[in-house]
Amino acid sequence: MAGGLTDGLSPSASAQFAALRRRYVAGLASRWTEIATAGDRQTLLAALHRLAGSAASFGFERLGQCARDAEARVAQGNATALAAALDELQTEIVRIA
């Protein structure tokens, strides 16, 4: 994944990308609600998986990494480690928003 995602884009494409990033950020609160209120393992995994698969495409690499870390913790079944990973994810969402 390129460091500067929009390097080399035209000014109008860069502006469009910035607008998409704002839309993505605006949706993060509901993404977090899905994660925080997931009633079962499968729902939680799906919500984390979705975030992990999209965040870096919008330039939010750290957010994507946090979601991947939490996804891995769910798979490991370690509740304490999962809680810590979800805390980190929430902190990153708050930082971005």
Binding site: A2, A13, R50, G53, S57
Partner: protein
Amino acid sequence: MRSLQRVMCVEDDPDIRMILEFSLATVGGYDVCMCAGGQLAIDQATAFKPDLVLLDVMMPGLTGPQTLAALRSQPGMTGVPVVFLTAKAMPDEVEELLQYGATGVIVKPFDPVTLPVDIRIYWEHGGGRRID
């Protein structure tokens, strides 16, 4: 050989559809047909006549592999290259996806600036190379 111009995308996640549209239409300059699910893609494939299909693997309803199998039976779709889009990236999983008859596998998250070139490489060379 036709040039790569018409790209059909099949993806259930609205965030990914949004960035795919930007990547392929705005950055890549392709004509894009965006489908939110496999059945929509099957319904629209013959009319849109895609040069390449970018197909999500895990979707509610028809999965990517099921959609690929159904697309192949549509008129004019037999030889159209299909590239899977997946967040799963283990080598054995990639091999399994290629065995469904896909030309390649692109791993999410993808770089929206380089994706137009990545799919062109699959279009030009085919053969199941993996790009990530």
